[in-house]
Homo-oligomer: 270 residues x 2
Amino acid sequence: MRTVFFISDSTGITAETLGRSLLSQFEGVKFRQTRVPFVDSVDNALDCVERLTEAKMRDGVRPIVVTSIVNAEVARTVRQADALFLDMFEHFVGPMEEELGQPSSHSVGRAKGMEDSADYQRRIEAINFSLAHDDGMSHKELEQADVILVGVSRSGKTPTSLYMAMQFGVKVANYPLIPEDFERGKLPTELVKYRPKLFGLTIAPDRLSQIREERRRNSHYASLDNCRFEVDAAQKLMRMEGIRWLDSTHKSIEEIAAIVLQAVDIDESY
Amino acid sequence: MRTVFFISDSTGITAETLGRSLLSQFEGVKFRQTRVPFVDSVDNALDCVERLTEAKMRDGVRPIVVTSIVNAEVARTVRQADALFLDMFEHFVGPMEEELGQPSSHSVGRAKGMEDSADYQRRIEAINFSLAHDDGMSHKELEQADVILVGVSRSGKTPTSLYMAMQFGVKVANYPLIPEDFERGKLPTELVKYRPKLFGLTIAPDRLSQIREERRRNSHYASLDNCRFEVDAAQKLMRMEGIRWLDSTHKSIEEIAAIVLQAVDIDESY
């Protein structure tokens, strides 16, 4: 067992995201992971040194530490511990300073914690939009949607919508395809004029049945037969209506979001 | 203007997260940012080379490229372009291989795109929980909540709840504090027994009024006087009930989430 710390003077989320991606490259190794946010003083740094030393004694091997600390003195203090340090700034900020011909806030010793406020507002608005347009709740202002996800109940529309709003500031509505739609053999009327924004999610019937069982045990809704019928009918409908779709069964939310974004050709420059 | 590309054989979200954190260290420089996901073949890599070359011609300076590409041949192909390359794997994976005494999937040339499935399930469950317990919608299973956020309407509870669920797999309910609570001078009865899980969000009255104006223009609800009254009453109530809180006015969702997590002392090891 190896202990990994993500240490930052801010939220630690960037260090953790980078760190998890690195750890995923080492299969079969067991990692105990700990995020340590807001290490912004020498005192806090000394506490970290203590935790790192404890981890080494407990594990019998030194810990791995992914750091993103702007203040040089704080960073130096943490480095007193015996650990493998992977410093986000060390390898990247230097070359960027040279390339841009200007010192970074890092070098100047000034932290810039806060996010860009326009970007923040855009994400909050997108989250509110996605919440208000979850599960076909509202047709109002659907023209403002960047994407409208469609698919049978529990195919992954809601988490994907919220993730896209939160991560990318994209306004995503979602709309369930229900047995009435299959009987009519047509898209819900409200959606027809938004066809270019539509994207479908489908899912393997046995997985869908499992998920629905957790919600309504032993129901017709959750039965494998019904799930097979709904998934099949939804795919037929999407094919007929020319809606692109993907199978969410073996994909993470991040992957689904990135694929949808690429497919609907939202400009990923900003 | 400098163009920055986040290029990855997977979603590109890790490269983008790291990249944005680096860019934030250079104030005053204008960056045009583009995420290029799913670059997993030499053909795709050659397309990238073309885009990088175009960017250089347009900007008059070479672009900056943050990459996370597992396959060595694909990575090498992208590097044919003239750009500053910041490679997530180059500086970090080597030292980790040495430390752990085993080669990474990166070196072996095998991608590991999918997330850990137990972690994924935990996050989906947390999102569903947070949605079902948004805005005091349900008291059912409130004992399962890891955190219950309280605060006046539009103080940031919903985005924070969803972000914590999505990023950390933490079950967060949220509960509005409303004028009836202030009149009674007491917490909503349903919440009293969960006091250790409660955390408050507060917000500057003028900011709150702005946010509410966007929702219900010229209403009593949005008026500065009413916002002052509500914020003041909510803070009094939280102080009296011994609930910890923070001011969300100048904080990003990520910061609020990290602070709450630390305060309620949810173990951040996993």
